[in-house]
């Protein structure tokens, strides 16, 4: 509570946005007046009391689809980000703490993956593999983990040379203890901030994949796909495609506001230490 009171206004606004979206993602299916793929009206009906945000290119209720999509989009992005951090952090810490040829092999491998443009890489892999939510999450996670690897390796390098890590080595501690007890707690603040940032990127990446038709497959709703489905409406002067686009933008901004505040906090703490 004390932390909340001391938060700057921007962080409070960001937190509010994140909470609203989290609420929508968790309770969306119960809040939605209609089913996810249920056709309930005409094509592109205007805003009305029955359809507060109108209908889409197939006559489905936009509000309902927005709520259903919240779960899909945020869920996939979150799962992919969590996985990419688990993978990237573990490898990054191992590279930093063990060093030597382990570090060399891992770093060069990651460099190679990073050398290929992410979107092209994802397009190729997703075109080959059978489309499913799992492959989608895995592909985003693996591609994103390269960035996490680089950051966690860099921050862990700074900590790994500290005397207290050497004390643990001299005591004969094994790698898991050194990584999770000595290094991890001291590198967490920048990584937490990075988590928010990477979540936004995963989220935008998923949306662009969906827009290209390789992300979450119809009839399941997701914001990126909704923009694509309704893109033609723009030429009729309708704002339908802008609604999911706005959702993407607002959540990105919200998360970033919270992340900025976290970054500020972690850097001041480190300056004091």
């Amino acid at each position: 509570m004390k932390t909340f009171a001391r938060m700057p206004l921007s962080a409070k606004a960001g937190l509010l946005i994140v909470l609203v979206f989290a609420f929508a993602a968790i309770f969306g299916p119960w809040l939605a007046p209609h089913g996810e793929a249920e056709i309930v009206g005409d094509v592109w009906e205007p805003f009305s009391t029955t359809f507060p945000l109108g209908t889409d290119s197939l006559g489905r209720d936009i509000l309902s689809r927005m709520l259903w999509a919240a779960r899909n989009t945020i869920g996939v992005a979150l799962a992919a980000t969590l996985l990419s951090f688990a993978l990237g952090m573990t490898l990054g810490y191992v590279a930093a703490v063990v060093g030597g040829w382990v570090d060399l092999v891992l770093s060069r491998l990651i460099d190679t993956i990073m050398a290929i443009p992410t979107l092209i890489f994802a397009l190729v892999v997703l075109a080959v593999l059978p489309p499913s939510l799992l492959t989608l999450i895995l592909v985003i996670a693996v591609l994103d983990s390269t960035r996490v690897f680089r950051l966690s390796r860099a921050v862990a390098m700074d900590v790994a040379v500290m005397d207290y890590v050497e004390v643990a080595r001299l005591r004969g501690e094994r790698l898991p203890w050194i990584i999770f007890r000595e290094v991890l707690p001291n590198t967490l603040p920048p990584l937490i901030a990075e988590f928010g940032l990477r979540f936004c990127f995963a989220f935008l990446f998923l949306s662009s994949l969906s827009f290209l038709g390789l992300g979450i497959q119809p009839p399941a709703a997701d914001w990126g796909g909704m923009v694509r489905d309704n893109a033609n409406a723009i030429s009729f002067g309708l704002i339908v495609p802008l609604i999911p686009a706005a959702a993407i933008a607002i959540l990105t901004i919200g998360v970033n506001l919270v992340v900025d505040w976290q970054l500020e906090r972690s850097s001041t703490v480190r300056r004091r230490a």
Binding site: Y164, E166, L170, R171, G172, E173, R181, N186, R272
Partner: protein
């Protein structure tokens, strides 16, 4: 009245604490500095001496505020002065020499470009004039090859040279006052004496006034005309150097003068198998050979001190003994058992029996673990103690190192430097080692705190029969606690033996250089020592010089 260059009256400076609440660092200090005078400011860390030094430039560190009082430089009030005025004063009327020259120089630019910058930007000198002046001063401060010295980059010169270069930087615009903030603290004794002599000479010849800030009373006594003793932001005592040294009035000053009177009991050599034996060790970092044929023996319950300047290989020796750096050749024996060279090949029990205590307690304790977790881990790791049993033992270890039981739940950041070092010692004791390697354990601590830690180490040795391998560059510490002394120079042992043998002449020339470089608490020590060295050189005796040259 206007003879005073700098007048500070009733100055109060506040800083911000951990959670943002303000607290006073300097609590109403007044000082006067006349032209050509050197005023020594002395006190432990936290006494507010650096803050006061910076304040004489009208500057407060980030988070600090000059709250109240007055700072007049040549009659101009600096407190609350506009930034424009301060800019024209700093570097020109008053200059600053920081403790760590290595951190104060920009590694991407040549020395000379940085040295003349202030003089050209603020002092109204042309580049050519400033360069000529800088070259004159290089020679004055006995820097090598004055014509070319400035063309080098900071990493191409040694620490002692860089510190002198910084002094040149401060002197080029001919300021009225130079503030020296611990200018020799980061240097070896052998280098310190040369830098100190150079600074003293330069101040005298250029007729400048100086504020000389240090925690080392013996050092400041060589250079200051007058000394102010500070403690907790307040003035304890002020007086001419001779009076402070020979007739201190305040109890605190007396304690400062009498520090380093710790004495160990002489122990007879034991005939048993030595706790630690190192035979013919050679070691290298990559292609750089740092240890040559090092052989030494540490008997049970005794202390072997390894002394030498930085780069002599004494810390490398510790790394070899602990297994962090496998030796190229040679053997390490622990109580009659040969140890594998590499850490990974040593058994858990072998690791337990050698413990290392580090120089910097700040980075030797994990900031995210409580003291109980830190001390408790070796108990669990080596002996499997958990729960209440572990807690009981942690509390007993805290008591051993004279810390209150309440510290168990605290984090390292909540402890002072000396307390942290005690926690490090407790952690090492928890493993119940036979050999404890102490790597410069007191050099990051204030003299009095260091004294307490040394007493603790001596007491523990008497109680438990621990053997210490004591690595240090501080000969006063060696005199206080060592049984045997090993003198190292450029990776080789140049002299070793019982303390009394090594400390009584005739010495090896390097031992002689080390011993004679330790500042003594008497007036004129610096001049006398230097004169003696010159005289001996003139007589054709072999006199060594610091490897820093």
């Amino acid at each position: 009245m206007t003879t005073n260059l700098l007048e500070i009256d009733d100055l109060h400076i506040t800083g911000q604490g951990e959670s943002g609440e303000p607290f006073e660092i300097v609590k109403g200090i007044s000082l006067r500095l006349k032209r050509g005078e050197v005023l020594g400011l002395i006190g432990e860390s936290g006494a507010g001496k650096s803050t006061l030094g910076l304040a004489s430039l009208g500057y407060a560190r980030h988070g600090c505020r000059l709250v109240h009082g007055s700072i007049r430089l040549g009659g101009k009030e600096l407190l609350g002065a506009p930034p424009g005025l301060l800019r024209t004063i700093r570097g020109v009327n008053v200059a600053y020499v920081a403790q760590s020259a290595a951190a104060a120089f920009n590694p991407a630019h040549r020395l000379e470009d940085q040295i003349v910058e202030a003089a050209v930007q603020h002092g109204g000198y042309s580049i050519a004039e400033a360069r000529a002046e800088a070259r004159r001063l290089y020679a004055k401060l006995r820097l090598p090859a004055p014509e070319r010295f400035g063309q080098r980059y900071p990493h191409q010169v040694s620490g002692g040279q860089l510190q002198r270069a910084m002094t040149v930087m401060a002197m080029v615009p001919k300021p009225d006052i130079i503030v020296f903030d611990e200018p020799t603290t980061a240097l070896d004794v052998t280098t310190q004496i040369e830098v100190l002599a150079a600074i003293k000479d330069a101040i005298r010849c250029e007729g400048m006034a100086a504020l000389y800030i240090t925690h080392d009373l013996a050092l400041v006594a060589q250079i200051a005309d007058r000394i102010m003793v500070l403690k907790d932001g307040k003035l304890v005592e002020e007086g001419p150097t001779a009076q402070i040294l020979h007739a201190p009035r305040a109890a605190y000053t007396k304690a400062l003068v009498n520090v380093h009177r710790v004495g160990g009991v002489m122990k007879p050599p034991s005939g048993k198998i030595p706790s630690l034996e190192v035979r013919g060790i050679d070691a290298a970092y990559g292609l750089l050979r740092v240890l040559h044929d090092v052989t030494l023996r540490l008997d049970h319950g005794r202390t072997v001190a390894i002394v030498g300047e930085s780069g002599s290989g004494k810390s490398t020796l510790a790394r070899v003994v602990t297994g962090l750096l496998p030796p190229l050749k040679g053997e390490i024996w622990l109580a009659g058992e040969r140890l594998p060279g590499a850490l990974a090949q040593r058994s858990k029990d072998q690791l337990r029996r050698i413990q290392l205590v580090y120089q910097m307690p700040d980075v030797a304790l994990n900031p995210r673990q409580t003291i109980e977790e830190i001390i408790g881990r070796p108990l669990t790791f080596y002996f499997g103690h958990r729960g209440a049993e572990r807690r009981r033992r942690v509390l007993r270890l805290l008591e051993e190192v004279e810390l209150p039981a309440g510290f168990a739940g605290r984090y390292p950041a909540e402890l002072s430097g000396g307390q942290k070092q005690r926690v490090c010692i407790a952690r090492a004791l928890a493993a119940e080692p036979e050999v404890m390697i102490c790597d410069e354990v007191t050099s990051a601590l204030d003299a009095q705190v260091a004294d307490g830690v040394l007493r603790l180490l001596l007491r523990l040795q008497a109680e438990t029969g621990l053997s210490y391998l004591f690595i240090t560059h501080d000969l006063a510490t060696v005199k206080a606690i060592a049984d045997d002394i090993v003198v190292m120079y450029q990776g080789k042992i140049v002299q070793q033996g019982r303390k009394e043998e090594v400390l009584t002449p005739p010495h090896h020339p390097y031992t002689d250089l080390l011993l004679s470089s330790v500042p003594e608490m008497e007036l004129g020590w610096l001049d006398r020592t230097l004169a003696e060295r010159e005289a001996r050189k003139a007589r054709g005796e072999r006199v060594m010089e610091s490897a820093d040259r």
